[in-house]
Symmetry: none
Subunit: 242 residues, 2 copies
DNA sequence: AAGTGGTCTAGACCACTAC
DNA sequence: TAGTGGTCTAGACCACTTA
């Protein structure tokens, strides 16, 4: 995957942007980039499109391509980034060592809400997986996930003690490529305070979401309660009507 | 704008999909579409890419292009797409009556951070606008906005007591179409507690963002502190590329 | 093996911005 | 007018799925 032309260009430009290789906050024009990288202008455009979709750069027709200044900020702090679906990979890409502690692992009948969210029928069962995620001995997230047993019949205590998404991709040869997320804030409860080392007036950030496989099947409903210092959800909204 | 090839194809296909013109939930292959529409395959791909980004279709390499069954079953899932950036409109569409109380309105020199975020030069000035938003007599948001005076030289106390975005669109004939948002949680401070009727252990949700005009010009830097019960940010994440 | 989507090229022409 | 990004084409070859 990593040998694709547009991906290489995209990654290289991203790296250069972060290394402040363009102090004037402006990228070379597309035709020059095409020459520099010895690739077609189309490939340059494709790489730039991705960076633009991620909000890292923006283009002004007739004028040039510029770096979004807000993207450069807050890079020193650890945070969960909206651009990655999996928590494990999200942490790894930031050089963190993720750790997972399994709190509980059960099979329960899906209630009505889960039936709706996961397109299940009455009587269907789901795994209920509670986990505590940490990095560098700092717990930052309590995660409760629900997965239909018929989608992943072979889940074991061993598997769910690691990255479930990686298991799905490597062993089941499917990809988790979409999710609906809700993000909100809430006072912490006793469990939060104990597990996440929070004082009573410190809140949690909550992410609720449904994750989908690449064929459109809803795969997991997840409720994530995060230490408030470790949630920063970045998102780029475009209203350019297609 | 509507005469672009890929847009026409995209709209036409979208309409056909909704009219159930593909009962087998499968689109013709790209080469056939290219012939049917008498456009290049690249243009077909571009149209399909947009539909895929919107979650309407998904592609399977070697197999074909298929209609997302979820799109037909539950269209509310994709609801965030039509949503508006402006708070005022966002509330109105939910049947709420928004109210704005102007807390302060000043002109100050842009500090270094604002200069960067808003593409300003040293010595440039910005408006600093602090407002409290309520609906049905329930205050829910403290908003601090910074807008370059050179972008909107005619801002008055009267204007900023209402919807600034609406003013921009109606009087200045520009559109706010993009924003870069960070969402996080934080304990409330004394001001939050007073203005938003929060107790000490109740948090705020924070949205920090830069809003851009449709030509890419950064228009406003905004810091929004929300009563935690009134922040729920919904988003749809796709990882198909990258 | 046939058919599908994915990647990439080289180049033409258009639309907008800056000077 | 010169330079920028935007659109579009025609075609080559690759990677994957299905039979």
């Amino acid at each position: 995957m990593a040998d694709l032309v547009y991906r290489k260009v995209m990654h290289d430009l991203k790296q250069k942007i972060m290394a402040n290789a363009f102090p004037n906050k402006r990228l070379p024009d597309e035709r020059s980039l095409s020459e520099q990288y010895s690739v077609s202008r189309s490939s340059i455009k494709r790489a730039l499109k991705i960076l633009a979709d991620q909000g890292i750069i923006f283009k002004k027709r007739g004028s040039g391509t510029f770096i979004n200044p807000l993207f450069m900020k807050n890079k020193t702090i650890f945070h969960y980034e909206g651009s990655n679906l999996g928590i494990t990979d999200s942490l790894k890409s930031q050089g963190m060592t993720p750790k997972i502690k399994l709190l509980s692992f059960k099979v329960i009948p899906a209630n009505e809400e889960l039936q709706q969210d996961l397109f299940l029928s009455p009587g269907d069962f789901v795994y209920e997986i509670k986990r505590l995620r940490s990095f560098d001995n700092q717990p930052f997230m309590i995660e409760t996930g629900f997965i239909p047993i018929k989608i992943a019949p072979e889940l074991s205590q061993d598997i769910v003690s690691g990255s479930i998404f990686n298991y799905i991709e490597e062993k089941m040869n499917k990809r988790v490529t979409r999710s609906f997320l809700s993000i909100l804030a809430s006072p912490s409860d006793k469990t939060d305070q104990e597990l996440l080392n929070l004082s009573v007036n410190e809140p949690v950030g909550i992410m609720e979401g449904i994750f989908f496989l690449d064929d459109g099947t809803p795969f997991e409903v997840s409720n994530m309660r995060l230490h408030y210092k470790y949630l920063r959800y970045n998102t780029f909204v475009m209203l350019d009507d297609y």
